[in-house]
Amino acid sequence: MIPVAQVARGPLAGINPVAKLAAALLVALPLIVTIDWVSALTALVLEIPLIVMSGLGWRSFWLRTLPVWIAAPLTAVSIALYGEQSGEVHFHWWLMNISDGSLELAAATFFRVLAIALPGIALFAGVDPTDLADGLAQRAKLPARFVLGALGGLRMVGLLVDDWRELEAARRVRGVADQGRIRRLAGMAFALIVLAIRRGTHLATAMESRAFGATTARTWARESPWGAREWALMAAGLAISVTALVVTTATGHLNIIVAD
């Protein structure tokens, strides 16, 4: 049902997904608290090697990041039109107000969206859910019950697609598929929830019957790898965010959101 992701084959592909998650967060953190274009652009440029090393092919890179390339300019345009006004005003009509200030803010937002989203997508493209679960439970020390429950549930998603198809056929069979489309869809959505809960219950039974939730300390079939590569990736993430902050401070562009 869910195809096993075998997309990325770059130097970063075998790295523990938890390290990738941590690196992506480290990169994003300073970009979330600042709002100037220099920090965002610096981070974006420094991320390029990371994105290349993720091993995602060009085709899949553009395909997967397409929503970001659409969202970033759209956000930038609306900020340019409605953003806080300062400096020279270039255009004014009703609530729209393009000024030096709003244009700068727009550029900052554009680069920021790209700098936060692109490395996240590239790093996570090849992550196998099982490896992530292994890492979250063994390395990030999240509760095994929670992580494995979520992993088991993820496998059910494919079955829900079949359920939906079956519900559609059943409505046609029963003579109620001709009208009231919205009401019918609402009914089907409810039925799908009921079926999902039932599947979840069955899964829980299967897991419990294999001693899931036993009081014994759990062992793991596979050790979630953690070594120099993982630390290096996290260090790279940290270096990017620190460099971005240093550059923007040095050039006098630093603009922290909370300071406003």
Binding site: L151, V173, M207, T219
Partner: protein, 467 residues
């Protein structure tokens, strides 16, 4: 390793959400290494007992227990891993994405060291004869393979009691043999005590030592059934002798069927469905049986070729059933899909049967008459006010058939009508289908059940192996 001893003394269980006891007053002794077939009507508490022995019924907030139940003298809830459970639905049991991880899952929970764990995984897979890569996706296995995977998962915990809850009910003929043989090898080599719940006792002949029957004898309810207009099932003659078999109702030419667009499942197929005839569509899992059934029933468009309804069947509607509206379909082709849970729409059994007649905008008195008649004939009258989802498997099956019959279709398509049913429901389904065919209704049964087809004197259309 030896098998476990099982003892029940006045044991009973009531789910917190139900008034009635799921099982009650049970006394049972099973010696170490014994192999038991557990039978009884649906609702007699077979599954409940198995779940209890597997320790998955839950604690006091899930329900109420009386009496005692013990595996080697211990409460099953305290001894994780001593019993291994395999359930009916192959899709509901794979827990992990990869075959190796799935088998290892139980060992992980029991804290088995890593080296020992992978030794157990490979020997369990060997024993059940599942020769696939450890990285193989569990979703990509066939039904029989999934059941053997579940068996291996239970086995890796090295249980002394093996509990199988209708492990072959959802499988085709070759899957049934695969799983039966795997179980036989497992009990032979481990000496574990075995309890199998299964309606088809003949499958397990040679593997089991004795049969234990739960609950009341079937005779009382069968007697009631005998008085219904459907009559007791009788063996019908061969297809050629069936009356009305001359009028073709649906004809296919070079038909290719596909469940998902662009992925043909079977074809080309030339078939004629005639009034009063029972046509059995058989073949292994994945051969496109259900897809063909749905295409004939006007639920899926033909991927190639044509499905055409005769003038008599279509009346003023278009020639192709797929172009009919949902309401037009009601009086022409009725369908019972395999899973009742997806089909039930109403809040009570009575309303469920009324769905179709209401969609046809029949007068209220006519709706009431048809509904009363069907409730009575299908022995559902005492459940008229019950919520459909609270019914047992057999009752749900009868209800979905009743809901189809309420609009009096000329063609009835039934997907696995006897699937996982106890012998009594089986006989009832045969009786219902025979009486429909005698009324000149065409029946298309998609089934693995060759006994059903021979009881109905059906014409068999066998589909090839999966492509």
């Amino acid at each position: 390793m030896t098998g476990a001893r099982v003892a029940a003394r006045g044991w009973g269980w009531r789910y917190a959400t139900r008034h009635a006891w799921a099982a009650r007053g049970l006394d049972l002794d099973i010696a170490p290494g014994e192999r038991i077939l557990l039978s009884g009507l649906s609702g007699s508490g077979k599954s409940t007992l198995l779940h209890a022995l597997a320790g998955v019924l839950g604690g006091d907030d899930e329900g109420e227990q009386e009496g005692t139940l013990a595996i080697d003298g211990d409460d099953p809830r305290d001894v994780h891993g001593r019993a291994g459970l395999v359930l009916q639905d192959p899709d509901a049991q794979a827990i992990m994405h990869r075959v190796g991880d799935d088998v290892a899952f139980g060992c992980e929970n029991l804290g088995v060291p890593r080296d020992e764990m992978w030794r157990r995984v490979s020997s369990a897979l060997d024993l059940v004869g599942l020769d696939v890569s450890l990285d193989r996706s569990t979703s990509a296995l066939s039904g029989g393979q999934k059941q053997r995977l579940a068996l291996a998962g239970a086995l890796a915990m090295q249980p002394r009691l093996l509990l199988l809850d209708e492990p072959t009910a959802n499988l085709d003929a070759s899957g049934v043999i695969e799983v039966r043989d795997a179980v036989a090898r497992v009990v032979e080599s481990t000496g574990a005590t075995l309890i199998v719940v299964e309606h088809r006792a003949d499958v397990w002949r040679g593997v089991i030592d004795r049969e234990v029957r739960l609950g009341p004898p079937a005779s009382t309810t069968t007697a009631v059934f005998g008085t219904t207009p459907f009559g007791a099932p009788e063996i019908r003659g061969s297809g050629a002798e069936v009356p009305y078999s001359c009028t073709p109702l649906i004809t296919t030419r070079d038909l290719t069927v596909a469940r998902v667009k662009g992925k043909p499942a079977a074809g080309p197929i030339d078939l004629t469905i005639r009034a009063g005839e029972v046509l059995g569509i058989t073949g292994p899992n994945g051969s496109g049986k259900s897809t063909l059934g749905r295409t004939l029933a006007g639920l899926l468009p033909a991927a190639g070729g044509t499905v055409v309804a005769s003038d008599e069947l279509r009346g003023d509607a278009a020639p192709q059933p797929i172009r009919w509206s949902s309401a037009q379909l009601l009086t022409r082709i009725g369908t019972v899909l395999q899973s009742p849970d997806h089909q039930l729409l109403a809040k009570t059994v009575r309303e469920e049967i009324e769905v179709g007649p209401r969609a046809l905008k029949l007068p209220p008195e006519e709706i009431a008459r048809r509904t009363d008649d069907l409730l009575d004939r299908l022995r559902l009258d005492h459940l008229a006010a019950a919520h459909p989802h609270t019914l047992s498997g057999g009752e749900k099956r009868r209800l979905t058939v009743g809901a189809m019959l309420a609009t009096r279709p000329r063609v009835c398509v039934l997907d696995e009508p006897t699937f996982g049913q106890d012998p009594q429901t089986w006989r009832e389904m045969v009786g219902i289908m025979a009486s429909l065919a005698d009324q000149g209704i065409a029946i298309v049964a998609i089934t693995h059940d060759l006994d059903l087809l021979s009881a109905l004197g059906a014409r068999e259309f066998r589909m090839g192996d999966a492509q």
